[in-house]
Each structure stands twice: as C-alpha cells, then as structure tokens.
Symmetry: C3
Subunit: 346 residues, 3 copies
Amino acid sequence: MLKHFTHLKDFTIDELNRIIDSASDLKKSTHAVLPLAGKSLAFCFMNPSLRTQVSFSVATNALGGHPLILNLGSGGTWGMESVEGAVMDGTAAEHLKEAVPVLGRMCQGLGLRSFPTGKSWAEDRNEPALAAFIKYSTVPVINMESASGHPCQALADLMTIRERMPPKGKNFLLSWAPHIKALPMAVPNSSVEIASMAGMNVTIARPEGYDLDPEVMARVKKNCAMNGSTLRVTDKVPQAFDGQHVVYGKSWGSIANYGQAPSSDPAFRKKWTISAAKMKRADKAIFMHCLPVRRNLVVDDAVLDGPWSVVVDEAENRLHTAKAVLMYLLASQPKRMTAAARRHRK
Amino acid sequence: MLKHFTHLKDFTIDELNRIIDSASDLKKSTHAVLPLAGKSLAFCFMNPSLRTQVSFSVATNALGGHPLILNLGSGGTWGMESVEGAVMDGTAAEHLKEAVPVLGRMCQGLGLRSFPTGKSWAEDRNEPALAAFIKYSTVPVINMESASGHPCQALADLMTIRERMPPKGKNFLLSWAPHIKALPMAVPNSSVEIASMAGMNVTIARPEGYDLDPEVMARVKKNCAMNGSTLRVTDKVPQAFDGQHVVYGKSWGSIANYGQAPSSDPAFRKKWTISAAKMKRADKAIFMHCLPVRRNLVVDDAVLDGPWSVVVDEAENRLHTAKAVLMYLLASQPKRMTAAARRHRK
Amino acid sequence: MLKHFTHLKDFTIDELNRIIDSASDLKKSTHAVLPLAGKSLAFCFMNPSLRTQVSFSVATNALGGHPLILNLGSGGTWGMESVEGAVMDGTAAEHLKEAVPVLGRMCQGLGLRSFPTGKSWAEDRNEPALAAFIKYSTVPVINMESASGHPCQALADLMTIRERMPPKGKNFLLSWAPHIKALPMAVPNSSVEIASMAGMNVTIARPEGYDLDPEVMARVKKNCAMNGSTLRVTDKVPQAFDGQHVVYGKSWGSIANYGQAPSSDPAFRKKWTISAAKMKRADKAIFMHCLPVRRNLVVDDAVLDGPWSVVVDEAENRLHTAKAVLMYLLASQPKRMTAAARRHRK
C-alpha cells in the first residue's frame, strides 16, 4: 500500500519512535547506504524554506537519490490550481490534477510545503494543496509544512528531547511569542501533538484569542488522558515557566483575528518575549525553536546564546529525521511498475 | 561533427523514429547505463517550466550526468543580450557571445528555453537567443522550446501515438482552444510538423486569423504530399472532429493580431473549448495536450478525466525521450578536447 | 585548524601558486578523483551569478560532492540579519548566527556571495555578511565575492596569466571602464592585489575620484616594494597602455561619490572604453575581464573578438581553480565530529 508522511495523527507514537530510532542510527552511522540509488524526489515549495530544503536535499543525496527543488508559483514554475471543477481563467496555469501525477511518473517521491493563505481558517484548515497531492499522487508524499502541521519538524523535536531526557512524565511548555506577522500554526500544533503523544505534561501559554485549532486540541487532550499526563492552557507568564523541562518558543497567528499581526505594543511584547528571567524559573529546561527565529522579538539573545538553547542541535536533527522518513517511505517500496504493467492494469 | 537537437526540419522521420525507438527501450529498461558519467549539462530557462525542467533533470541524473537548472534573467542570473554589435547600456548584463562559450567550457551540453516576446513575429521567428546558442556553442544544444518549435515535445507526442497506433494513414486533428493569453506557436507548429512527417492525415481547426506560420505550413504541405496524406485547414467545429484518431488540443496566439489575447466572448469560448460532445464525434480518438492546460477553458474536465485523455502518459514520455535525446547527442560524442589541444589548434 | 578561503591577504603567493598548480593538474587530469564523496556544499548567493554558480556546482560534482545553490533573500529563502544584538522586527527573518551553524551541521563547506549595498563604503568594507559566515561557521567558508575582494576570480586570473607568461617582471594594467552602474570594487581590488603578489609591475588607469580602497592599495604598494616592481596610478589614457603585457579591463564605482553611476557623457565614455586602438599600443598584451562584460560600453567588440582576448579561457579557469580550492579546503579535512563527540566536548 502507498505510504505517505503527512500528518502525525496517521501514526502511533511507537511508529514515530521507530522512525526516530532509525534517525539516531543514521546519525551515528559512518557506513554509506544507498537505498535511494536511481530514485529522484521532487521537493515542491509554495513557500520559502532553508532547513527543510537543505535537509531533504542533503538527506536524499546521502542516501544515493537525486533531489529536485521546485519552487511552484515562483522561481521558474507557474502557480497551481487545486479546486476540482475550477474554470481556470485566473492566475494558475496548471491544475494539480495533472502536475502531481506527472511528477509521479518522473519521480519516486514528492514533498510539499504549502502555507495557509491567512485569509480564511475554514478554508486553510482543509489544506487544499496538500489534499490534492495526497489525492492525485501515485508515489509517497511528504508534508514539509502545511496549514495544520509540520510533522517532519515534530520528529526532529522529539528526537532532540529524547537525546536529553526520556520524555514520558516530563513537563513541556509551548510559549507563544510576539512577531510582526500572523504566522502559521503548523509548528505549535505539531509540537504539542507529539509532546502529548510522547506522554509529556503539556502547558500552553498564550494570550487570550490565540488558542490552537479545536481539532488539534481534542487530539492533544485525548493523548494526555490516555497517557495520564496533564494539559493546561494559560495566559499567566512568567508563572507558566515554573518547573518546565522543555520550553518550546513559537509565535503564531490568532484564529479569532485570522491573518492579523499580533499587537506591537511594547508592554505586550515585553510580557511575551522569551527571556532569560523566564527560563531561570524553569527546571534546567532546554529551549527549543524550529527556526527561523527573530532574535529579541520572539526570544532574547540571552536565551538563544545561553546554556538552555538546543536550537542548532534541533535543526541538525531535521537532517537525520529527513533521512529516516525517506527510508521509511522509499527504502522498502515495491519496485515502480513498468509502463507496460501500468497499461496492462487498465 | 557537433550535433544539436533544435529543429524538427533538421531530421528525417527515420532519424526521429530511431530516437523514439531508443526512448522506448529506455522506458522498458531496468539496467542502469551511465553514459553521461562525469558530464554536466546546463539547462537554461528564460521562461518557466515544469515537465521540461524535471524531465531533463531526472533524465540527466538517471544516465549518470549532473544537471544544472539556470534561470537566465531571473532566479539569480542576469538577462542576456543576443544582438551582434549591441551597445550594452540597457538591462542585459552579459552577451550570449561570452555566456554560451563559457558554459561550453564548464558543461558538456546545453539546453535553452526561450519563448517569443510577443511583440513582433518578424523578430521572434528569428529566434535570436536560440540562434546565438547554436552559433556560439562548442557543445550540443537542445531546444527546450523556442518561438518556432518544441521538438522535444514533438518526440514525446509521436512516441505516445506510436504506443497506441501505427501513425501512417491515421487522422490527426490539431484543434485551437481558448485562452486568457496569446500563447506561443511552438507546440502547435511542432505537433503538426511531426504528424505530417509520420504520414498522418492532418486537420487544423482554428478560428480565422489563427493560421500557423507559412514556413511551417509549407513544410507540412510538402510532407503530406510526399506521404500521400491529406492536409485540411478549417474553422468548422465540431465537424472537424469527425473521424479523427488523434485530437491535439492547444491554444496559440494570432500572427495577424500578434501578442493580443484571444476573444473572451463566452460564445466564442464555448465554440472552441474542447468538450466531450466533440470528442464523441471522433473515431475513438485519444486526446493529447502538452500541458500545462487550463481546465474548463482549453478543455473540459469531462475530456481530461474521460477515457480519451493520454496527457499524463504523454508527459511521462517527455522523460524517456529526454533520455534518448541526451544519448543521441552525448553518448557517442568524442571526448572533449583538453585545454592543451584547444590551444594547440589555435 | 579550520581553513577558509576568503581573502587574498590571508595567503602568501607561494600558497596561492600551489593552489593554482593543483588547478593546472586538475585541468589536464583525465582520472576521476572523488575526494568530496559524501560531502554536501551549500553555495549561498545574496547576489546574482553565472560563472561562480556553474563553476562551483560543476567542480563539486566532478569531485564527487553534492552542490546546493541557495539564493538567500530570494528564490525561496528569506533575508538574513548579520548585526549582533539586532531587534529583528524588520525584513530579515533569520539571523546568520543560527543559519550558518545550521548549514554547517548539514553541509561540509559553505560559499558566500555578498555584494556591497552601495550606501556606505564605511559599512560595506566591513563585509558584515561574510564576517558573520567566518565567525559562526564550523566548516570551511569560501568567499565567492564580497565587498572587498573576489579571491576565486584572482586565482583564475593568475592561472590564466601563468599559462601565457611567467608573471614576475611583466607589466599589468588595470584599466577603469565606463558602466551604467556603480559596480563593486571586489574584482579590481583582487586583480591588482594578486598581480602585485606575483611580482608584476602594476599600473592602474582610472579617472580622478576612482581610486581603490586605501587598505588594498597599501598592501599592493608593500607587495611591489617587496618584489622590486613598480606601481603607478594615472588618469592618462591611452598612454597607460604603452608596453603593457596584460590589460585587465573593469568598471567600478567611486568611493568619493559612493553608489553613484559614472558619467554617461559620450566623450568620457569614449575616452575610457577599451578599444582596439588602445590595445595596439600595448606589447602584444592579452586582454582580461572577469565577465559578465557589457560590450561596446566597457570594451569594444574589436577587442573581445580580436586576438587579444583571453576572457573565455579565463572563465574556464574558474572551474579548475574552484576544484583546487575545494581540494585545498576539504580533501584533507579531518572527519566531521560525530554529534556524540560534539556533545562530549561541551
């Protein structure tokens, strides 16, 4: 059966931990394995990227495969339509109904980064581009960040935590942070979802009006109940930092005021920027962030440059988990059908 | 002698069929051959691309070579001058007289996509950028779509037809289609040229004022005469669909009103959009299109999603024919002269 | 110790000549050596490029490595901050303090092209982006053109001269040329610096107000004194061409009127454009230029297309010297520390 890696909710924590085990092995490995030899992978970006682009490119090459970076809608390729039945007299020159199967004829795996538009959460949460990739693809699809989640980041996050502590029973704080834009909710969603799957006690500190999506929160609540761990949502900072083992800093936009930048009021910013004083209240916590991070707005230099920060190790683990995801999806895939076999099947 | 693959008219149908035979072999092949090992190829795009970019990139890598995608004039590289004797005080920062030989010193083959400007057909038909590549290059040049033709697409088209029927004596319809822009004539030119070379009866259905270039039509006429096949140009749709075996849908701009978008009048669009009703008049025809295609403007969903459509198979054949073109141009090339030999020659 | 290749002043002429010796060997070599197997290199461009991009990409691949081209600030990646302590509420979404170490965890070498902003020479000469790469990188850094220099170009330049004459005691003219923009001074700086290091007599012909940076000129003066060669700065053209063996044409911006385009007065342009008449005054000189070059503004067709021009050979040597720089930096590097060793070290 065709495997994808697109949403955490499709996996058990045991399955995710097995992928991370494989990433840990690959991290230590000095042996060259080339399970992707002869395979090409198209990593499609509708939004900018640094770590995701580099990690999947390097990971694919390290496993013997051929990575292609395609900037859809810019950088030499046109915009894509995803709505079924659309009359295509607008800006999009091609429908994903053609583009995705065509890429699947030329490549053995596809990745997609597609951010929300920031206009309507009701529409964005449907993830039309990712849904189209999953629907139309004949080869495995990797979600390289969608409106609802960033499962590749979550794998690297849990790997980074596992390298420092057994996550079960430890305290995980997701702390909202100021920004000049209404950022996507993918990373905060996935970070609390995987933390709750791993049996951590979860605290979310955020201003009123910045609650995460109810669907995600329902899964987090269920995970915590199943694991006997606690779940708390609060706007009390710095108190929320007390006793935490992992502090995950992240800015995201409000669903209530969808697409609007957070307040730039200096007092509000000061209250929510992650500072050394806050980190000192935690229990020798590590500080995590998915990067890119705006210094002295999201988090102070003193935190990023201090003993708490594991953000560069966390970023490095994007490479190892990217390899593990590629191995999971492609190393044991049955051989691609020949064109003759395909025609025969029809 | 230096070989290029730039215009259909430089080849006989036997030569083209031998390239397609090689593509068919490569399509079935499970053996890795690496005739391009140690070779780098620069694929230069002055216009956007999806299939062409991915197919040449994957094909080059699959044959052991190293593909470079260069977006000339955007994406990190400046615009190029092609006019001899130009005083370069405008926007172009480099002349192809330098850029092409330099690329030829670093790479073993070059590809160029260069669309018409849409300002003057008299100038566009001279294909100044492609002509400069051919003139200045010391390594094989591949035309990845110019003003006058898209021979790589034509190879994939004929391969797709050959996989379904022996083309000789069969009926081929090129049917014009609505669009929001005045699109290039490269694909319609090449599609009817190769169909006529392959001995098919050719019908071109287009509105008044949308005739193809007289030079191309003269060759098509000659091919049909030589093959004893018929050639018909008509504005009668849906009647033109009657009895066709291959329907090739495509929009293109008018030479008479050069660069102007076609009428957006709903009745005109309805008349020319390719519909299931039209396809039903044909003789169990296959529906072809080079992609990207604007659904429900150029062609209805019912056609693309119906039993007629072979557009994804046709796109896949871009990969196999790309490999065959690379093999044709480079697998038997003499070794590149050493710098010492080059200096000696001077 | 970590090696970089960022500024000519960090090297002796013997060290540079050894790198060029290695480039000459690689140019003649028909043997495949793959010292970069398993290594990925990220070439980061904040400005456009053709030769640099292609030469490092081809060189890396030819040595068995995996080149990544990253267009920072465009083409899919956001802008980067380099100022320590910055409050990042502007356009830059990431600090090089994170981006560079992260790239160093995923790649085994980094390149950076970062032009001056053209607003303040006092700020530009500090090369904030390159300085940040050097400061934060844990892997070798290559300067692919900064505000102050273009050492990779200088290597190819000296290699090209050495292929035609022993440089010591020969006459080298850097001749300023007209342009529509105030171009960076990197290439003229590096060209006279390496010529003076190689023991050539240096003449700089430029209009009043177009002197090179005093720091560079101090080193050039010292080199000439050490080598017993002459150094002359003049605005007398065409006289400056008399008796020259190497003419290096190049436009650059004025420090005095920083960022302002040179005069477009036809008489001024005519005086400074490099012409066949001027070349005929030289002593069978070769004509060099780093490319891209604006024909008939910087230099006349008659020079570029005449017997003097070695610009394409010079560009080809960018490939061979790129290989030699990669070998110098990476072929003998100690193995990258494992993550475990890194953590142990902390």
